[in-house]
């Protein structure tokens, strides 16, 4: 499988891993599996390794739960996890293989063994406990987001639900089929409701970007009349 990670997310993992040295750092990855079989990482979570050692990691269960909730709210699927190897190469240790229970997950391992040259690989691990099969996946770091050209922009940060969706819907009705609407919306109820309602109407949600300031950009492609 081909996996895409944004350079900015790669950098966040790397910086976090450096700051956690000498211990292993860890976290989760979330995104979407596209129709053409590409796995797109759209969000990485930097979580606490409660083991605090350089040999293995355990994700803080509370943080894990919060991250999964956040994925659901953002319309993203859990895709797997990532952790760092502060001193060893980027490949699964016996312990990593043993703990890889989910054959659908992608396991990302970032090696810091060579100073200034971080190596990130993705692995697919399946099979019974005693005979795990490891396959390296094709990981592509993309410099920037795929640019989406919006035909129309809408700001709904000044209204509450359901007017957020009402305004989005009215704006979509003004567009031609295939055109893209970019909606600027608030975190919380709007970001939970608007993408879901738009999908229910049959439109395509292209992307939801976290602006990091409590607002999001939602890109919607109009489907049908």
């Amino acid at each position: 499988m081909k996996i895409i990670i944004r350079q900015s997310d790669f950098n966040r993992i790397y910086e976090h891993a450096l700051s956690e040295r000498p211990n292993e750092a860890c976290g989760l990855i979330a995104g979407v599996d596209t129709e053409d079989g590409v796995r797109e990482i759209r969000k990485v979570y930097l979580l606490t390794n409660v083991d605090h050692t350089n040999e293995h990691f355990s994700i803080d269960p509370k943080e894990q739960l919060a991250a999964v909730k956040d994925m659901r709210a953002s319309g993203l699927s859990p895709l797997g996890n990532w952790h760092s190897h502060p001193e060893t190469p980027s490949r699964p240790s016996e312990e990593d293989k043993r703990l890889a229970h989910d054959p659908r997950a992608s396991y990302l391992i970032l090696s810091l063994a060579e100073e200034g040259n971080p190596v990130l690989n993705a692995f697919h691990i399946e099979g019974r406990l005693e005979e795990r099969m490891v396959r390296k996946e094709e990981l592509v770091v993309v410099m920037e987001d795929r640019q989406i050209r919006a035909d129309e922009k809408l700001d709904v940060t000044d209204v509450v639900c359901p007017i957020t969706f009402v305004k989005t819907k009215v704006a979509l009705e003004e567009l031609e089929e295939g055109e893209v609407l970019q909606v600027h919306l608030n975190d919380g109820e709007p970001v939970q409701n608007v993408p879901r309602s738009v999908k229910e109407e049959g439109h395509e949600v292209l992307r939801l970007d976290d602006n990091g300031d409590g607002t999001f950009e939602l890109f919607i492609r109009k489907v049908g009349e």
Binding site: F165, K169, E173
Partner: protein, 271 residues
């Protein structure tokens, strides 16, 4: 036409509906519905259509509000007693929704005025309480090719159908002629449970909204009956358009509107 923020909020629950949307709401705002009779059926229908933002609503009634009306004609209040029903209804509708233009016609419908009354409207809602008016409205709507919601209520029963002239049976295809005078009691004689007007009149408003927005399936070719005591609805399939229907066939025998004699309604207090 763009919505104002106030309209977006007022009609938000409509616009959210996939079947209505902004397009459907605009159709409602541009639509013209004529309600004949501001009584048990017309009152709830007028309230819902005004609330829905039907842009122009005409209301026809020659009566004034009477104390005995208030048990079911929920558009009028105790303060309206003695007022023309059309004025009282118009005031309530305007108060509910300033987007609505209300046209009032303080008159009985007759063969003389009915075609003029219905001419400028997209959908006609029959909320009258007597057979002569119902046949007259049917015939006029067939001649003018106006969609019509027909309904009737008495005691604990109600019924309605929707007539699209040329597409399904008309009232006369089902009931050839009015019943003999005094064969059927009117509401005044027989009584009617107040909420019956609410149920059936609201269903008429529903049909009007569906027709205007082009949503769902209309009651064309069906009669929906409601028995409140048994709490039963029945949707009865009607026969197709009658080939020899006196008014809606290709060779109609009724080509001129007529006024049947009003059934004598002797209401004796305490009888």
């Amino acid at each position: 036409m763009a919505f104002t923020n106030e309209q977006l909020e007022r009609y938000s629950r409509h616009i959210i509906l996939k079947e209505i949307g902004a397009k459907g709401q605009k159709k409602l705002l541009n639509a013209r519905v004529l309600i004949i009779g501001a009584g048990g059926l017309g009152a709830p229908a007028a309230l819902y259509l005004a609330a829905a933002g039907v842009g122009t609503i005409g209301i026809v009634d020659a009566d004034v509000v009477d104390l005995s009306n208030l048990q079911r004609q929920v558009i009028h209040t105790t303060n309206d007693i003695g007022k023309k029903k059309v004025e009282s209804a118009a005031e309530t509708m305007r108060a509910i929704n300033p987007d609505v233009t209300v046209n009032t016609y303080h008159q009985f419908v007759s063969s003389e005025n009915i075609l003029d009354l219905i001419r400028d409207y997209d959908f006609i809602l029959d909320g009258t309480d007597n057979f002569p008016a119902k046949f007259l409205i049917n015939d006029a709507c067939v001649m003018a090719k106006k969609p019509l919601s027909h309904a009737g209520i008495i005691r604990f029963k109600g019924q309605l159908t929707t007539i699209l002239p040329g597409e399904g049976p008309c009232y006369r295809c089902i009931f050839k002629d009015p019943p003999p005078k005094d064969a059927v009691p009117t509401c005044k004689q027989a009584g009617v449970i107040g909420a019956m007007g609410g149920v059936i009149g609201s269903l008429q408003a529903m049909e009007a909204v569906k027709y205007i927005t082009g949503t769902g399936e209309l009651l064309v070719g069906y009669l929906l009956t409601y028995d409140a005591l048994k709490m039963e609805f029945h949707k009865i399939k009607l026969p197709k358009r009658i080939k020899g229907c006196a008014v809606c066939s290709d060779t109609p025998t009724i080509t001129k509107l007529m006024d049947y004699e009003q059934a004598a309604c002797e209401w004796k207090p305490g009888a």
